[in-house]
Symmetry: C2
Subunit: 262 residues, 2 copies
């Protein structure tokens, strides 16, 4: 058994906590954090830039063989006490498996889109759990890429956890300039659809979604800004027979992606 | 300003905490708890059996006028200190609005279903956030009722919170006996569809879902038990082009309800 770290002043442990709590620190170091056996395992298997593995004593006994197979043995690893693990964990019942991972070079819209693809644009989304679930669902339904614009930090621990590993599989671009975003979608001939709840919008049941498509989803509480919806080729609505306030942004995005991908 | 309670030994505060943490206590008292301005407001407006309102001093100043309008002034209310509010809160940034609410008389399947309706059956679901989101989406899409079988406690604070008030609007029945469940669905001539990920199942894109319909969703990790899927009229699958492990149970249920309700 390696040397077991018990001090919260250990530099690696301190860095983990900084990265976990601050977007600024994540940007400065170009690193983000992962927690949990499944997502850390996914990142190791898909060679997704893990720079440091942190295991509690218990996790080291239970999982290190599974995590550190074959050529992955070169991954830098420290073992910390279970108590320290509970301190840095973001969940009550932590598995004690933590990692730091390099933030990939940010891809621009034009790098991930191509003619004929189906894309989801998250415009002004702020709930990390929602954003993670949408990325995860995009992965399930075979959407070709996700574009984030004016939304929460993709590399916050909550977003990463909610993607359940899909963050390592999906093509994701960040473009906060709406002019650039529309221009690059225009370059590939994308039909842009604004998801709204206006009565005069086109019901998605009447849309065909053929060819290159980008669907814009707006903020959880406020929806899409009027000028952004206006710039889209069309406004679309999910016809509902029930209480429209009960459809959350992630579920609305899921239904739209399902219609896109059918 | 009323008398402000600061002691965690106050009987009402103690009862709130018991109800919050234990299904057994909820069953014994026939009460469950609500937290948050919106859901407590919904419950008050829809006359959903609130027996006790608990407001922090801050919430009392900010929200009591909004909450206690007109004939609702008769609702029993206590005011607690902000510190005590933080102690009993289930979220980090509580609004300080809490209530106890009577658990309605449990309805049987036959009391909520009728010929021609569309129903969702949650079979063995265990994640409270998922269950709440499914009830909320059922409400949005105009599903006629939700049946819970062998699933987590509907009245746990996490399920209640995730429904965002839809628990007060949806018809919900609990039936843990599969024989009774199938027999009562049979009585209304329901076509029962088991949501599975078997390749030989019928793609939902080929289903018409006409007439009386009940769609069975299984456990997050294990899906539906084979014998339950076998007893259904048909097995259905959501065709996916991507990573099938990325579609979570709530999102799968949402897509199926969308197809049911179109």
């Amino acid at each position: 058994m390696e040397n077991i770290i018990t001090s919260k002043d250990n530099p690696t442990v301190k860095l983990y906590q900084k990265l976990s709590s601050s977007k600024k620190e994540r940007l400065q170091y170009g690193l983000f954090v992962l927690e949990g056996l499944r997502i850390v395992g996914d990142a190791l298997r898909e060679d997704s830039g893990i720079t440091q593995l942190i295991l509690t004593q218990k996790a080291h006994e239970r999982f290190s063989e599974e995590l550190l197979q074959a050529d992955l043995r070169s991954t830098k690893t420290i073992v910390i006490s279970n108590e320290l693990g509970n301190k840095i964990a973001s969940t009550d019942a932590t598995q004690g498996v933590f990692a730091m991972c390099r933030i990939p070079v940010q891809r621009k819209v034009k790098h991930i889109v191509s003619s004929g693809g189906k894309y989801l644009v998250l415009f002004g989304l702020q709930d990390p759990g929602n954003v993670g679930m949408m990325i995860r669902t995009a992965d399930a339904l075979g959407i070709d890429g996700v574009i984030m614009s004016g939304s929460c930090d993709l590399y916050s621990p909550k977003v990463i956890r909610s993607t359940m590993g899909s963050v390592f599989r999906m093509k994701i671009a960040i473009e906060n300039d709406a002019d650039v975003l529309f221009s690059e979608l225009d370059d590939i001939g994308a039909v842009t659809s604004a998801a709204v709840i206006d009565k005069d919008a086109k019901p998605v049941t009447e849309c065909t979604f053929e060819g290159t498509q980008a669907v814009f989803i707006g903020n959880e509480g406020n929806g899409l800004p009027a000028d952004i919806a206006q710039r889209c080729t069309q406004k679309v609505i999910i016809p509902m027979h029930g209480n429209i306030n009960s459809l959350n942004a992630a579920m609305a995005a899921g239904i739209l992606m399902w219609e896109l991908s059918k």
